[in-house]
């Protein structure tokens, strides 16, 4: 009995050791399986709307009217477009067009004007919106914050043609703006910290600012949101799904919440599981 107890204990230890030293590529495989399953068999989980998204939506609803001018600084990277930017950007831009606001889109990232041209405006229902009258894509301007500052001070010094090489004096809506004071709302779509836009538009011109960003920037934007410098922000896939819920336009955001759930539950499980294994390993080492 004693010898079988020792054999059983050795077998159990071997099993535990194998588990503790498991190749992490098995965890990668588990993550892939958990992400794949809800894509093939969606569950349709509900989603709670968080305060920053709700405030962004309510600000637009209560303050933006027909013919108001919205300046959008696009800083998107194409790598984040499909699920991080797309839900929020499409839902928000659709909302602006439904209200009848005018959109001035200018880019501070090289990939952004192509994303705007190929993915954003072709996707949304523009209704009676006409290019050059209701919305315009002004293209990319290098320098990041320097371009923002130059544009805010004097638009004509920077912009002579749009992304499609049409001279701006042929675009009716460009005659209505000369500097930052002419805009009613300024948005930055970016994965970077919010200081650029806030320094050049909120601080310098007192403009109301909002952000559409990737999920990772949530914690970084919160202090500015808490201090009132941001009216609200839509962050990543989850924020996009929330905005789709609020506007009643379900899209890729809401369709992806199941997979996000399984990914996060797996991650949380991994934190607990690996720490339990770590404690087991320590105990085995002591023995």
């Amino acid at each position: 009995m004693e010898s079988s107890g020792v054999i059983m204990s050795n077998n159990k230890e071997n099993w535990l050791l194998r588990l503790v030293n498991l190749d992490q590529r098995y965890y990668y495989l588990a993550l892939i399986i958990l992400l794949v399953t809800p894509i093939i068999r969606p569950i349709g989980l509900p989603i709670l709307v968080t305060a920053p998204t709700k405030d962004f939506y309510q600000y637009v609803n209560n303050n933006i009217q027909e013919n108001d001018k919205i300046l959008i600084w696009g800083g998107m990277s194409v790598g984040f477009w499909p699920t991080e930017y797309k839900p929020g950007v499409i839902a928000a831009v659709q909302h602006f067009f439904d209200i009848g606001a005018k959109i001035y889109w200018i880019s501070d990232a090289t990939e952004d004007p192509v994303i705007c041209d190929q993915y954003v405006f072709p996707t949304i229902r523009k209704g009676s919106a006409v290019y050059g009258v209701n919305y315009v894509n002004l293209g990319y301007y290098s320098g990041g914050e320097m371009a923002m500052s130059a544009f805010a001070k004097d638009i004509s010094s920077l912009v002579t043609q749009d992304y499609y090489r049409t001279p701006v004096n042929q675009l009716p809506m460009m005659r209505e703006v000369s500097d930052a004071n002419d805009f009613d709302f300024v948005i930055h779509i970016t994965g970077s910290p919010p200081e650029w836009l806030l320094r050049q538009y909120n601080s310098a011109y007192g403009k109301d600012c909002g952000f559409i960003s990737i999920s990772g920037m949530m914690g970084i934007y919160l202090p500015y949101y808490a201090s009132g410098q941001l009216v609200g922000f839509i962050n990543g896939l989850r924020g996009g799904a929330e905005y789709e819920t609020l506007t009643g336009n379900p899209g890729i955001g809401l369709a992806s919440t199941d997979t996000v759930s399984t990914g996060h539950i797996f991650f949380s499980f991994l934190i607990v599981f690996t720490n339990v294994l770590y404690l087991i390993k320590r105990r085995l080492n002591k023995q």
Binding site: P82, V114, T160, R199, S215, S256
Partner: protein
């Protein structure tokens, strides 16, 4: 049904090539990585050219703003960086860029990052809210000051400063944990888009 679109096939092929690095570093992964770098750099050059045409060529040819030959000259001088004998010349246009970027950052930082944030913290001490809200506000004020004390490097972190710096460090650890979790969500969302492309658009499942 599997996709017939050549574009989708190219996308999926490149995705599998890139993901092959999870198993082992290999030629296919490096091929996809170099493809990304080449296209991204090329795209940047194209956009830079469009920028210069828009901001220089059109004003000179249409509006006669010949003074813009000065920034063109200065811009070309930036490229002397690659000629060892004359690379010091590139400091002059770079100093213009450095000066302006610093100036616009500093003038905005005073209000945006310092004044507004301090006012927001002080305001928490006077706004009326529930008991739990008041407790939270007090915690925010104390932990903000403790975090700031962590960045005081004029004195060694011992005694009272050591305690506040430790609280500041713990607060930042909680912040990093929060940020880490949100960055993970960002990456899972990107991975999700790849899975959707492969399963729904390429293989036609779901």
């Amino acid at each position: 049904m599997i996709s017939q679109d050549i574009g989708i096939w190219i996308q999926v092929l490149l995705i599998f090539m890139y993901f092959s690095q999870l198993y082992k570093d290999n030629f296919l992964y490096r091929f996809s990585e170099y493809t990304l770098i080449g296209i991204a750099i090329g795209h940047g050059v194209v956009l830079a050219y469009q920028n210069v045409v828009s901001m220089v060529y059109i004003p000179i040819t249409m509006r006669g703003e010949y003074i813009l030959f000065i920034p063109i000259t200065l811009g070309l001088l930036i490229w002397t960086r690659f000629i060892p004998k004359y690379s010091w010349i590139s400091r002059i246009p770079m100093s213009l860029i450095m000066g302006l970027s610093t100036a616009i950052a500093v003038r905005g930082a005073i209000k945006t990052q310092i004044y507004e944030q301090i006012i927001a913290t002080i305001r928490l001490a006077i706004i009326e809210t529930s008991t739990l809200g008041t407790i939270n506000n007090i915690i925010i004020i104390i932990t903000t000051m403790c975090t700031l004390s962590y960045f005081l490097f004029l004195k060694k972190h011992e005694g009272a400063l050591g305690i506040t710096a430790r609280i500041g460090r713990l607060t930042m650890m909680a912040m990093y944990g929060n940020t880490f979790a949100w960055f993970y969500m960002s990456r899972v969302a990107s991975l999700l888009s790849q899975m959707q492309l492969i399963l729904l658009q390429w293989l036609g499942l779901g």
